[in-house]
Amino acid sequence: MSESTMKEFKVSAIENGTVIDHIPAKSVFQVIKMLNLENFNDQVLFGTNLESKKYGTKGIIKVSNKFFKSDEVNKIALVAPSATLIEIRNFAVASKTVVQVPNEIVSIVKCFNPNCITNHENIVTQFNVISKDELKLQCLYCEKITDKKTMVIK
């Protein structure tokens, strides 16, 4: 077995489903939570602090028999902007895409402004993404900008 195959199998292969690769090691558990995999009924395999040539360390999640819609998964770009989404069918790679920060973020991010009405009433948060590179989110309500440093995922 070649070295690269060895690495791939540090987390067992799946027959059908989705592999989310190149997740920053520290964000693996957050991604699991964001995708609500805690309540998923089929196999979920994951590894973290794995070696990565590109990033030093990385995390990987493999979800059996689940194919994500893009808006369902793009939200993870907030914590894992380099994540790759690989669809596996019959043990083979069917498609590969890199996640993209969506134009709007609904519900998953908390507004950083303690005086924002969304932190005091039962309101679904909404943000317009004004910069995808620097990750700047403008709250639809208080109009303040939540950024990478101040972002808290609900």
Binding site: C111, N113, N115, C116, I117, T118, H120, E121, N122, I123, C139, L140, Y141, C142, E143, K144, I145
Partner: protein, 302 residues
């Protein structure tokens, strides 16, 4: 504009803002008209206010409408723990329009989502106060005959002052040059400066009024609050640098007018009040005409 809420100054286009100012001129000439006779306007002030609330209520009364509402949260069900959502859902069934001031940022946008009648934001925390912006624009136009190509100085707390942020954004539509006078700790935030840069306009920053007072058309004063300073010593050092005195107006432009959203504390010395360049009380009066125009447009009676 009929049936639309006004939460943020940018909810109305430049043309819509100008049409409100134009209509306000007609109310200045003839303020008493019974065009809101069958209308009820609710004024919900979760936070105290003198000018804004009274000028709204005066505007409604002069147009023949009825006002219901409360003047501070302690006299409403909020004190029993009622949510803003429930308060708005109830009040919108009693009225044709809601004017609201609330201490939390974003409360007005939220109210406009749950309400079946239009909301006019009369201040949501440190965020927006669009009717103040409209009356500021009206006053600038009234005193200068135009809004374009003016040199406008903003003085004081440019970091937290919501009236400054909204007015700067609105004036970006009119090719103005901005002169920003503030202590280093209270400079205009970059989120507002972005709007100036986007329109390819120019701003200059200063730390004392004297540097610029001789060459501007409008001097917009604001209050510096002691609690904004992390170091109280710093406040003591700079506080007198931002007080306007009559003697400072000697070599200023003939068309200069001094504006202030009020209330003032000591940042404009009372000896300025008698100078013909002082215009802040007239500015406050304009609030009635501008709010009459806004109410009439949103309720669709003109």
């Amino acid at each position: 504009m009929k049936k639309r809420s006004l939460v943020s100054i940018n909810d109305f286009t430049k043309e819509e803002q100008l049409s409100i100012l134009e209509l306000a001129e007609s109310f200045e000439k003839n303020p008493t008209r019974k065009i809101l006779e069958n209308h009820v306007v609710a004024t919900l002030f979760f936070e105290p206010s003198t000018r804004t609330r009274l000028s709204f209520e005066s505007a409604v009364s002069r147009l023949g409408g009825k006002v219901i509402g409360f003047t501070d949260a302690s006299s409403s069900s909020v004190s029993k723990g009622e949510s803003l959502r429930d308060t708005i859902k109830t009040v919108c069934s009693y009225s044709d329009l809601i004017v609201m001031r609330h201490p939390r940022e974003g409360s007005a946008r939220f109210a406009s989502e749950v309400s079946s009648v239009p909301i006019i934001n009369a201040g949501d925390g440190a965020n927006q106060h669009p009717t103040q912006t409209l009356l500021d624009l009206y006053t600038i136009k009234q005193t200068q005959g135009k809004l374009d190509n003016l040199h406008i100085a903003f003085v004081g707390d440019l970091k937290y002052g919501r009236t400054v942020h909204s007015l700067v954004m609105a004036l970006c539509n009119f090719n103005c040059t901005f002169h920003l006078v503030s202590p280093l700790e209270l400079k205009l935030p970059s989120s507002v400066k972005i709007h100036i840069k986007e329109k390819n306009l120019v701003y200059h920053q200063y730390t004392s009024i004297e540097e610029i007072i001789g060459s501007v058309d409008i001097l917009y004063m604001t209050r510096i609050q002691k609690e904004r300073f992390s170091d109280p010593m710093e406040y003591e050092k700079i506080k007198n640098a931002y007080i306007l005195r009559n003697a400072m107006l000697e070599n200023t432009k003939e068309n200069l007018k001094i504006l202030h959203p009020l209330p003032r504390v000591n940042e404009i010395n009372e000896d300025v009040d008698d100078n013909h360049k002082a215009y802040y009380f007239e500015q406050a009066l304009n609030g009635v005409y501008v709010r009459q125009a806004l109410l009439a447009r949103i309720l669709g009676v003109v």
